[in-house]
Each structure stands twice: as structure tokens, then as C-alpha cells.
């Protein structure tokens, strides 16, 4: 059983988040407001164009990427999730009380993941089409 502070204490800790949010909004809005009040306002066409890191905005906001990259996205997600499990495992598998069983267990997991790669390879997903 944990140290328990009651509901008021529990939800009360969220009040800090709310206050921080309000302060953030006030600073943001205040800065824009003061800027507007103090600056001279003489717009030209060049000044009104969207500012994009010093580069002239070209083309649409709608950009498409090659659909064939989705495979690499998938593979990346698979291995990224893999790594999430691998890192904590790597810190403990050599510790006393773990040893060979733990080592083998992770390779069982990796074998299941590898199954997907083998399948993708056989289905010619990995070749650049």
C-alpha cells in the first residue's frame, strides 16, 4: 500500500499544471499584445508573406512522400519497439539470479520479431520497386 494523500491532494497536484498552463498562455498572449501596441504598423506585400526560416515559401502546404517508404517506417517502428525491451534487459541479464534463461528468453522474443522480417523478405517487400 502506498503512502496515500487522499483525493484532494491527488487532484490538487494537477492544480500546479493548470496554473503553469495559465502563466504560459498569459506570457504568450502578453508578448504579442505588447508587440502590437508598441510597434509601428506599415505593412508591405513582402512583409506579409509567410516567413519560413529565411527561405521563400514555395508550393503547397500539402507535401506527399513516396508511398514505398512506408515499409521502412514499419520496420523502424518494429525495431524501435524492440529496442525499448532490449535496453532494460541488457542492464539486468548479467545480474546474479538471471543468467542463461533470461538470455534465451530475449532471443525467443527476437526470433518472433525476425519471423516478420523473414516473411517480408520472402514476400519481396524489402526489394526496391
Amino acid at each position: 500500500m502506498r503512502d496515500y494523500q487522499g483525493v484532494d491532494g491527488y487532484f490538487g497536484s494537477y492544480a500546479v499544471v493548470a496554473v503553469l498552463l495559465a502563466i504560459g498562455a498569459a506570457i504568450f498572449a502578453g508578448a504579442l499584445l505588447i508587440n502590437r501596441l508598441l510597434r509601428p504598423d506599415r505593412p508591405t506585400e513582402a512583409k506579409l508573406t509567410t516567413y519560413e526560416c529565411g527561405v521563400d515559401p514555395v508550393g503547397d502546404g500539402w507535401a506527399q512522400s513516396q508511398v514505398r517508404y512506408y515499409v521502412f517506417t514499419y520496420l523502424y517502428v518494429v525495431f524501435a519497439v524492440d529496442a525499448v525491451f532490449l535496453f532494460p534487459w541488457a542492464t539486468v541479464f548479467a545480474a546474479p539470479g538471471y543468467g542463461m534463461t533470461t538470455l534465451v528468453e530475449m532471443f525467443v522474443f527476437l526470433a518472433f520479431i525476425a519471423l516478420g522480417i523473414v516473411y517480408a523478405w520472402r514476400k519481396r517487400v524489402l526489394t526496391w520497386t
Binding site: 500500500m1 502506498r2 496515500y4 487522499g6 483525493v7 484532494d8 491527488y10 539470479g97 538471471y98 543468467g99 534463461t101 533470461t102 518472433f112 519471423l115 523473414v118 516473411y119 520472402r122 514476400k123
Partner: protein, 471 residues
Amino acid sequence: MIQSIDYWAIAAPLILALAAGLVLLLEAFLPARPGVRTALGCLTLAALAAAFAVVVAQRGVRETFCVPSVGCSYVVDATTVVFAGLALGAGAVVVLLSMGQLAEGDIPVGEWYFLLLAALAGAVTLPASRDLIMLVVALELVSLPVFALTALRRYDGRGAEAALKLFVVSVVSTAVMLFGISLLYGITGAVHLDAIAAALAQPERPGAGPVVAVGAVMVVAGFGFKIAAVPFHFWAADVYQGAPIPVAALLSVVSKAAGFAGLILVLTQALPGESATWTPIVAVLAALTMTVGNVLALRQTHPVRLLAWSSVAQSGYVLAPIATTDAQAATAYLVFYAAMNLTAFAVVMAVPHDTLDGYRGLVSARPVAGLALAFALICLAGLPPGLAGLFAKVVVFREVVAGGLGWLAVVMAVNTVIGLYYYIAWTARLFTPADATRRAGSGPAWIAVGVATAVAVGFSVAPQLVLATLG
């Protein structure tokens, strides 16, 4: 510290998982011929049969993945065996139904059976899970493959829409449930269901009541999405209609049973002390679910949509005994419901039509299919020739009345009468003479019709098979 594993206890999901990998590899390395498709189907059936044999052979209580002095994560007992048997039996029928679908060749067979076996492995693991993490992982293992199965037919707009709807609903429900679970964990500091119950039973918890109540409601809501209980039912008809029929059958039986198993486990094992909070909620959900499901089913003309709303209504009947904290009656109802609903889906797969009127004269044109469908519908309605449905309803009524929820029993009785209308209207069409030409499905679908009908008839003749196993 390494946990010792009782491989006999986890044999059933293990067999399914290994078979899933094997099917995937075989499809990748064997030539794509019709013979291979059938062989993979048979391999899947063999794996299901092996897992079923293991489940039947598992006597007594077996525990594994235990943490000393906290509890075990995986426990096989009588209720687990019934749920696992239900999932595997239903899985076999779904495989038989899908063999016809796969013969058309526009669905990758290995992936289909792999996903199916993965979902079934989850459905077998879930009723044995005894900690919240295992429960969520198992539930996701049931849910995730079903999205892919729904969308596996390429260039099918309706299928893709159904899959997207199912995906969004499922992800939202998981998020809601995970939030509820995190609240329960935050209050009790435990994930094992027994440990949660023990922690909540301790008196000195100032102000914990509201948080536990919110957690319990969110967990119920999360499972409510999975079992399509009102007000989380909107997705049911569109998804069932858009998905291939075998997947609709899987959703309406295996997924639903898994959702109920999880709901029952969390409510009766982790939150028995909080029953004053959740019994009224479950009772109201049950009443709403059966009423809305039945009323929406009244005006359907598409057979699968009708079955979808009917399955929503049936969820209400399963929820009713849970409101009296009785898991046995709910489980029994689910088993009977699975047999009769699968029979209906099997016939709809074997003789597909887009409207109920397409089934006019089915009894004279194809007596086997016609009579099987008529029997299934009468069972679902709960009328005398379909004794399985009648026994199921009687069991539930008895528990609800004994539990002191008289008003819920009245709502159930009214709903049974509403249900009669659309079940009987469809049954009557089967017997009206018509001279329409008949399209018919493939051989395995007929085997599925035979198996499902045989089980439904078996339950009608000997309902004690189920009732005795549950004890």
C-alpha cells in the same frame, strides 16, 4: 529473479502461437497453389484441435508466472477452460468459414491464418490472466489482428472503412481502460487482481472511494466498447457488415467472449468489494444494451446488420447476471449464444444474400441450410424448439430474479418479446415458397454449418454439458 513456467498450463496458447509462426513461414516458402491454401487451413484446424485437446485435458487449478507472496499472473481453472474451449471451438468454425473465402485467392492465406491464430491465442490467454498487465496485453492480442483481418481483402472500400472504425473505437476504448487501470494501480499499488482486492479491502483509505469508482467505471467503459454494450455500440453494424463474414463471426463470438472474460475477471476478482459501485452501472448498461440492440435490429434488412444488432442485444442478456455478481450464468449464456450465433453466421456464409428477402424459400430450396438457420434463429429468440436459447435465458432470469433485480428481469422479458419479432420475421421468410435461384458457398462452409448446428442441437438436448462444467 526468474519465474518458473508451468508449460502444461500455457500449452494451449503456446501451440497456437507456434502454429501461427509456422503457417506464416510455410506460406512464405511454399508455392502459391490452391492445394497449399487448403493445407494451411487444415494445419490451422489441427493446431486448434491440439489446443482444444490440451484445454479439455487440463483438470483442476494450475498456476504459473507467480510472484512469491503477491500472486500468480496465469491461472487455469474451470471457468478458464470453458472460455478457452469456446474460443477454440468458435475459432474452428471461423477457419472452416474462411476456407471458402480464401479459395477466391485475393487474400494472402498465410497472413489470414496467422492473424486468426494470434487472435485466438489472445482469446485463450485472456480468461487465464490474473494481473492487469497480462489482461490488457491479452485483450490487445485479440483486438489487433482483427483490424487487419477486417481490411485484408484488397480494394474493398467497405472493408477498409470497417477496419478504420474498428481501429479507432478499439484504440479509444483501450486508452479509456488503461486510464482506469492506472487509477486502480495508483490507489492500490498492485497489478495482480487478488492483491488489488486485498488492498481495497483495507479500511484506512481516506478519500480513495471516488478514485476507485472512477477507475472502475473507466474499466467497465473500456470493456463496454469491446463487447459493443450501449452506449459504446455504434461501430457494431458497420464493422460487421464491412468485414468478411468469417471475421464478423469472430468479432461477434470470440472478441465478445474475450471482452466479457476480462470484464468478469476485473469486476469479480479485483473489485468484489466495490460491487456497490459497479452493479447498478452494469445493470443499467444491460437494460440499455438489450433494448437498444433489439430496437435497432427491428428495422434491418441486411442479414449481417441484423445479426450485428441482435448480438448487441444478446450482450445485454450476458451483462444482466454480471449485475448480480454472478459470473457463471453469464459464462453459460455466452457459450449457448456462441453456438447459436455461429450457426446463423455459418448459414449466412454458406448461402450469402444481401437482403433478408433473399432467404425466402430457403427451406424448400436447401433444406439443410434453411432448417439450420431456422433453428439458430429460434434458439436466439429463445423459443421451445431451440432449447439451447431457452435454457440460456432461463439461467439468466433465475440469477437476475434471485439477485433481487426484479426491474431488470421485467426489461429482459419485454426485450425477449421485441426480439421475437425480427427473429420470427426472418424465420417465416425461410418457409415461404419462392422460386429464386440460389448462390451457394463452398464445401468447408457447409461443414461449418454442420458443426455449429450439431453443437447448438447438442446444447439443446444436453445443456448440462455446459452448466456442469461451470459447476
